[in-house]
């Protein structure tokens, strides 16, 4: 993350960043007025339920297992409802994603399939001096990225290491801004940017390798 400190200052002001998509129900009014539980439940329902597919999608990529993903999403919504009063984020989607991410990591540690670890620490550890763009030399300039079927692309994304998979899914599939990704994963924007660059380099290498295979 220390490699790109200057980049944080070159980003556009998020206030002026045009939203590419109109996301219905995305904006949450954070008011301090206390209302009764049913009003809270209704506000939560209206704000959170439209994101169910997005939350489920993220869960599928983080856990790589449909059944676990369903359980994680349910747990995520339970926690989200409980903490709905404490939401500080101006938008609910990154907040839901952050909760889901915690649920998924707890699930990992409970299953002991993957040892409990901090993906931020993992990413920083792998922030080795070998520049990721060295991979560019492996991909010939003449090779073009062609379209692949969804199943193959899902497989390529699923094969990325945790922190890079997470970054690319939040950016390309869930359509979050850098600032929102930083909020979800709890890392500085410079780190998000370098993870994305690295994730795309890995993905490109894997993509070209698949294209090169005889079908």
């Amino acid at each position: 993350m220390s490699r790109l400190p200057q980049h944080a200052t070159v980003l556009r002001d998020p206030q002026h960043r045009p939203r590419r998509k109109q996301e219905a129900g995305c904006e949450v009014m954070v008011d301090n007025a206390t209302s009764d539980d049913s009003a809270k439940a209704r506000r939560f329902r209206d704000a959170a339920l439209p994101h169910l597919d997005a939350v489920y999608t993220l869960a599928r990529y983080l856990l790589r297992n449909p059944t676990d993903a369903e359980d994680a999403v349910q747990e995520c919504y339970l926690r989200a409802l409980r903490h709905f009063d404490t939401i500080r984020s101006p938008t609910i989607k990154p907040w839901l994603f952050a909760i889901l991410r915690n649920v998924c990591r707890a699930e990992y540690s409970r299953r002991s399939v993957v040892e409990l670890r901090d993906v931020n620490a993992e990413a920083d550890k792998s922030d080795d001096p070998v520049p990721l763009w060295s991979q560019a030399q492996e991909s010939p300039e003449t090779m073009m990225i062609r379209k692949l079927d969804a199943e193959t692309v899902r497989g390529l994304v699923a094969s990325l290491p945790d922190s890079f998979r997470e970054a690319i899914v939040l950016r390309e599939i869930n359509d979050l801004s850098y600032r929102e990704i930083a909020e979800v994963v709890g890392a500085p924007i410079g780190t998000v940017m370098s993870r994305l660059a690295r994730a795309r380099s890995m993905l490109r290498a894997a993509w070209l390798a698949v294209e090169g295979q005889p079908t």
Binding site: R79, L81, S139, E141, M144, A150
Partner: protein, 259 residues
């Protein structure tokens, strides 16, 4: 602008995250640098190909039902199509039944979650108490290896008479005892030593619980809970799980023999 800078910033350019000035800089560099130009083209193609593939998942209907059960729908949002009967009364009955059912389901889900939260909090308290006890001069209030000194010491301090058993012969030296707090309630802490490891055995009054008797690991410490004769027990230590299990079995055997 160097290639190294450009190769990271071109991602921000692709993602529409650069301010106008830097976007111009990156574009100017790419225009004069064949290598970065290839990078930009390939990564742009990658983005296009990714957005062309259908990578999103749709939540299955079963999951949607589970999540919707968490928040009972306001009557106005219940899809009326599910109740094609035109009778207004039938419709209302349908709403009522639906919200009762989902309310009950939501309640049971919340209880499950709350219970596991409570378990986690207790485990956290147990570890905290264990850690506190390891600080200098915090281990024992009454320091003796004589179980007949320790047991009466608890008189008047607790609403239970915790079993205090000397297991020195079995390899677990009784060091003493103290009062401690789990979930804000006073509990007995009986302290044993295994080689250089301290084992805290917390004992509190409590009904037999549905908590799982499996060995838990919190912050590297092994914790095992069990209930017996109206008492709740938590054994916590940094010994390995086999040794903690051995301790528990010997304790339980001795307690049953003494009872």
């Amino acid at each position: 602008m160097t290639c190294e800078e450009a190769e990271t910033l071109l991602h921000a350019l692709l993602d529409d995250e650069l301010d106008a000035g830097h976007a111009r800089d990156v574009e100017a560099h790419v225009a004069t640098c064949p290598r970065c130009s290839v990078q930009l083209r390939q990564f742009r193609a990658l983005r296009t190909a990714m957005s062309a593939a259908e990578l999103r998942f749709s939540a299955p209907a079963s999951l949607r039902a589970r999540v919707e059960a968490i928040v009972p729908a306001a009557p106005a949002t219940v899809p009326a199509a599910r109740y094609p009967v035109s009778s207004r009364r039938t419709l209302l009955k349908g709403f009522a039944l639906g919200s009762v059912l989902s309310g009950a389901l939501a309640a049971s889900l919340m209880i499950t979650v709350m219970r596991s939260d409570q378990d986690q909090r207790i485990l956290g308290d147990v570890v905290s108490a264990h850690l506190r006890s390891l600080q200098v001069e915090h281990l024992t209030d009454v320091q003796t290896s004589d179980q007949h000194t320790v047991k009466p010491w608890f008189n008047g301090k607790l609403d239970v008479a915790p079993p205090v058993i000397d297991l020195t012969a079995q390899g677990f030296t009784l060091l003493g005892a103290r009062l401690d707090y789990i979930e804000g309630r006073a509990v007995a802490a009986v302290v044993y030593r295994r080689r250089n490891h301290v084992i805290n055995l917390f004992i509190a009054q409590g009904a037999s619980s549905e908590r799982s008797p499996k060995m838990e690991t919190v912050q590297g410490f092994k914790i095992k809970f069990w209930s017996e004769q109206g008492l709740n027990f938590w054994a916590v230590s940094d010994v390995n799980s086999e040794e903690l299990q051995e301790f528990i079995e010997k304790f339980q055997a001795a307690a049953r023999a003494g009872a």
